[in-house]
Amino acid sequence: MPMRKVMKCNEAAAWAAKLAKPKVVAAFPITPSTLVPEKISEFIADGEMDAEFIKVESEHSAISACVGASAAGVRAFTATASQGLALMHEVLFIAAGMRLPIVIAIGNRSLSAPINIWNDWQDSISERDTGWMQFYAENNQEALDLILIAFKVAENERVLLPAMVGFDAFILTHTVEPVEIPDQEVVDEFLGEYVPKHAYLDPAKPITQGALGFPAHYMEVRYTVWEAMENARQVIEEVFDEFEKKFGRRYYMIEEYKTDDAEIILLTMGSLAGTLKDFVDKKREEGVKIGAAKMTVYRPFPIEEFRALAKKAKVLAILEKDISFGISGAVFADAGRVLVNEKEKPILLDFIIGLGGRDVTFENLEEVVEISKKALVGEKVEEVNWIGLRKEIL
């Protein structure tokens, strides 16, 4: 029987790692993710988990050791955040290019400067072009589930790409919630042992990995990463189905809430989705035709699901905790690509919100709705809006 325990999201991520049985874990402490390797250390110390835990001297070495381990043919896991993920940046491309199904748990945190340990998504969003799949969890249960799902998708022969699972710093990482821990036997059935079909660093079948690709080959290799990411759409759906059958919880690339007759739809990722649902309920009572949507998968970008959502709205407001300076939030820019050639499309607005751990309040959300309503009646509004800025100190 699945067991319910009250735990922090970091612990849920460690539990997911325990259930996934990676043979190698390599990690380096960083706020707010440190509890993940701490908990894994305890599991190993108590004999509850059988993994080699490499206590590396940096995140760069953490991901490099994961690459070495994965290339040697075993399941590998790490956890990090913020500067740690940024330090891994170079190797993230390599892991994807070498088609190694590593999974990273990310306690989504801002990037310096100024140094700040609190939540936004700038860390993982900034890695969107590395070839890693990206999942964002709304709560602790989702973090646990999505890590298992991430391994399953990543190791699929049609995909073979690494994946990161993000969950908001402190809002989730350090918040206790009841989490259902699935039975090990069911997880074993779901995930199975990772047995790569190719010979990886095996003296019996020596192969060369990580060779130099000249212009005659480079582009094709990169194209296979593109193809794998395209294949991932279908595989993610299949794995969501299988996950539901095994564990009874259903995931969607984009999950909608009260969108059917909505004029304004607020789309976000991560824990903010929970806040939006409460807010939508409140506004519905006031008679506002409003809905919410949560994007669980950010890479591959859920293109068709996003278009279907967009068809329902007159104003589609994207609330995102990241900024690509000089253009907009990253999700908004992506949404533009998705809708640009659509005949009918909603007014698309971007709301930069909650950077560096600033609370997102109902007052902030009211401001989002006010701007969206103006757009709805044809008033000109800014496309990119910074919400909750303390203009008095600027």
């Binding site: 190698v24 390599a26 490499i54 760069h60 070495g68 190797v91 660093l201 020596p206």
Partner: protein, 315 residues
């Protein structure tokens, strides 16, 4: 007449057809190191192939693995410049969990080891991975076109340490990574030179045989980088030993009080002049107009010997 067993194995892991320069010192290192490794694995595990290689970005990586070709007959992985030791740590951990017997060979040049890869090397040594780290030292960033590294010797010309009106060439003493490695109390640390291939071979075998981490720093002249004739590579590497410029030693478990030396003159007097080593290398040509710089180089080398516990005389 009995046919003698060859002094080194005839097995090859470094295939012909790689793209290294004629007379390349590091290419000799690759050939000998893998042979020595294979002998050690055969003796220890009964399987000469029981090893994998994690290679840092650099000349030997580039010339050996141009897709779709490879010069490697052993399992081989290249990840990036600074992380060969970290990647090797991961491979070793995976092999342990897979129950696979053998040892991992990490390879990097002096740039990838003394500079950008030093942190990952330190981590690997400190964590006691069952990995041999082989540093082929050609004393500059040769793959990018001869830029100085912290392992470039005093006085040497490189493209980023050019001699000029206000410059004698490289103006810092060479950093000896072997001493840093030994300070980790690694089970086995050695220096070697392709000028004494049998000594290098023995040391690689020893490094591969010990349990836990080992580090070997081998001098490997670079034909274009040192501005030397391609047939002089080994001769120059031997002159480095004979002139006292390249100490050959072994340090076990960080025991600096019991360093073993090889080819050390009993009287502490090296018989070949340092100038013999310098004068056949274009990278030192300018020093002959600056005798005080040659003296400074000698003083620095004597100081290294003194740190190693030896008072020496250099010609």
């Amino acid at each position: 007449m009995a046919i003698r067993k060859p002094p080194i194995t005839t097995r090859e892991y470094w295939a012909p057809g790689h793209a290294a320069c004629a007379g390349c010192g590091p290419a000799i290192v690759m050939k000998l190191a893998t042979k020595a490794f294979s002998e050690a694995m055969e003796e220890k595990y009964g399987d000469p192939n029981a090893f994998a290689i994690a290679h840092a970005t650099g000349c030997m990586e580039v010339v050996s693995a141009v897709f779709p070709y490879t010069a490697w007959k052993a399992p081989w992985i290249h990840v990036a410049f600074e992380n060969a030791a970290a990647a090797a740590s991961g491979v070793e951990a995976a092999w342990k969990k897979l129950g696979r017997k053998g040892k991992i060979l990490a390879i990097g040049g002096d740039g990838g080891t003394a500079d950008i890869g030093l942190q990952a090397l330190s981590g690997m040594l400190e964590r006691r991975h069952n990995v041999v780290y082989l540093m082929y030292d050609n004393e500059a960033y040769m793959n990018t076109g001869i830029q100085r590294s912290s392992s470039t010797p005093y006085g040497a010309w490189t493209t980023t340490s050019p001699p000029g009106k206000y410059s004698i060439g490289e103006d810092k003493p060479k950093k000896w990574v072997a001493l840093i490695a030994a300070a980790h109390q690694a089970p086995y640390v050695a220096t070697a030179s392709i000028g004494d291939p049998y000594d290098f071979y023995r040391k690689m075998k020893k490094a591969a045989s010990v349990d836990g981490p080992a580090f070997v720093q081998v001098l490997a002249p670079c034909v274009p980088g040192w501005r030397i004739p391609s047939e002089k590579t080994v001769e120059i590497a031997r002159l480095a030993i004979e002139s006292g410029l390249w100490p050959l030693f072994e340090i076990e478990n960080g025991d600096f009080y019991n360093i073993k030396f090889q080819r050390f003159p009993k009287d502490g007097k090296f018989k070949k002049p340092i100038e013999d080593y310098l004068k056949i290398q274009g990278r030192f040509k300018h020093l002959f107009k600056r005798p005080e710089a040659i003296q400074e180089l000698k003083n620095q080398i004597k100081e290294v010997w003194r740190i190693l516990g030896k008072e020496v005389e250099l010609l």
